[in-house]
Amino acid sequence: MWAESLKVAVIGFSVVFVSLGVLALSVWMMSMFFKHEDKKAEEVQQ
């Protein structure tokens, strides 16, 4: 039982980090994209 529990915990905690890590990365990329688009729009206006 302990080996199975350890496996459940290690996999679970790792997936929590991976999921939120991927989410953080996606959000960061989205932010970068919109910052870039805003800059382009400002340049066009000027």
Binding site: M1, W2, E4, S5, K7, V8, A9, I11, G12, F13, V15, V16, F17, V18, S19, L20, G21, V22, L23, A24, L25, S26, V27, W28, M30, S31, F34, D38
Partner: protein, 373 residues
């Protein structure tokens, strides 16, 4: 039949004749929860209906929790069918501003590390003799997220639902008491004084895209948690898109209030004397506290670790907000931060890990479901 026989028959059918010490003890438990809510203002929206329901279902002979009876129906269709936790998430999504998290995405990781307590309590529960499914349901209390705790426990170990749900909501309401000593213990005065750069303004387009992005990322990685995450993000899309005002108001107010009533009454009804007065619930309460404390530790320690590599330091106090008691743990970060520097405003910075914690707990629950169901 003599008048005495009639009187005796009526007496036998009253609750007085069937009253036990256990019932009276549970009345005390119910009254304690109501007292916490009314006198101390601890999660009153939940503790009042939960407390009253505990009081009510411990009235002997009352036709409430048997098959087909009133509170059984609430419980069966609301909790056993998993409707209520998901609808609560819809309301939470409609009330939550993910802007601070989008503005500083690295704080999302703090929401992951604050799930440490979930796994510590999971092992603790195994040591106390609980089986692996019960241990997972107890561990998730450390995420400080009531609906997720109910969702997971109902699927894995419905026999301990009452104790885990009440422990989760009780500890959520006690965030201002549990977290500050741990936060002070793990941080230095100079760390508590760290000021963070003002968050950038997040555009409306980013806020509209975010719920779609988060739904895709989380549901693709952990499909088991799609009902919770889906409705959380649906509620958030209602909020941010700006064109469904009526749906938004209903999700934030009427619907959330209605399901909260059914949730409170259903959860309280699981705490009858016969089920509750055993050593198990006491262990669950102890383990819940352990889970909560270690989740706070996990968030703070990762924030300190990140500071070793970051140019712009983050105040480690916001790490403790990674437990998902929204917005109470973010407020606690603000309060403890202002004890060290009264002009330091951490609230918005702490909201990032705080809302990330909701997602982190949902993913942790999803992984338990994936592996154990």
């Amino acid at each position: 039949m003599s008048a005495f026989d009639v009187f005796q028959m009526i007496l036998l059918k009253t609750g007085f004749f069937h009253l036990t010490f256990g019932h009276v003890f549970m009345w005390g438990v119910g009254l304690f929860f109501m007292m916490l809510a009314i006198k101390k203002d601890f999660e009153p929206l939940l503790l009042v209906p939960i407390g009253f329901s505990i009081f009510l279902v411990n009235m002997p002979l009352a036709p409430l929790t048997g098959k087909g009876e009133l509170i059984y129906i609430f419980y069966h269709y609301g909790l056993e069918w998993e409707v209520i936790p998901c609808l609560i998430f819809l309301g939470i999504g409609a009330l939550t501003d993910f802007g601070p998290m989008i503005a500083n995405p690295k704080t999302i990781l703090l929401g992951a590390s604050a799930q440490l307590g979930v796994y510590i309590a999971f092992f603790g529960a195994l040591l106390f003799g609980f089986n692996i499914k019960e241990a997972a349901s107890i561990g998730i209390i450390g995420g400080a997220d009531g609906p997720t705790t109910i969702y997971l426990t109902q699927m894995l170990a419905p026999q301990i639902l009452g104790a885990t749900a009440v422990a989760a909501y009780s500890y959520m309401s006690m965030v201002p008491l549990i977290q500050p000593p741990i936060m002070r213990l793990l941080t230095t005065e100079s760390e508590r004084k760290i000021r963070m750069k003002k968050l950038r303004k997040v555009s409306k387009t980013e806020k509209i895209i975010y719920p779609l992005l988060a739904t895709a990322v989380i549901c693709l990685i952990t499909p088991a948690v799609a009902p919770l995450m889906g409705l959380l993000m649906a509620g958030n899309l209602f909020r941010e898109c700006g064109v469904v005002e009526r749906l938004l108001k209903t999700s934030q107010n009427e619907l959330l209030n209605i399901v909260t009533i059914f949730l409170g009454l259903s959860v309280g009804s699981t705490m009858s004397a016969e089920k509750f007065l055993r050593p198990q619930p006491i262990f669950i309460f102890i383990l819940g506290l352990v889970a909560f404390a270690f989740s706070t530790v996990g968030g703070i320690l990762l924030a300190k670790l990140m500071n070793l590599f970051l140019k712009e330091k983050i105040n480690p106090l916001i790490g403790s907000a990674g437990v998902s008691a929204v917005p109470m743990s973010a407020r606690v970060s603000q309060k403890v931060g202002q004890e060290a520097d009264k002009h330091n405003y951490l609230l918005m910075h702490a909201m990032g890990p705080n809302v990330a914690g909701v997602i982190g707990t949902a993913v942790a629950a999803g992984m338990f479901l994936t592996q154990l169901k």
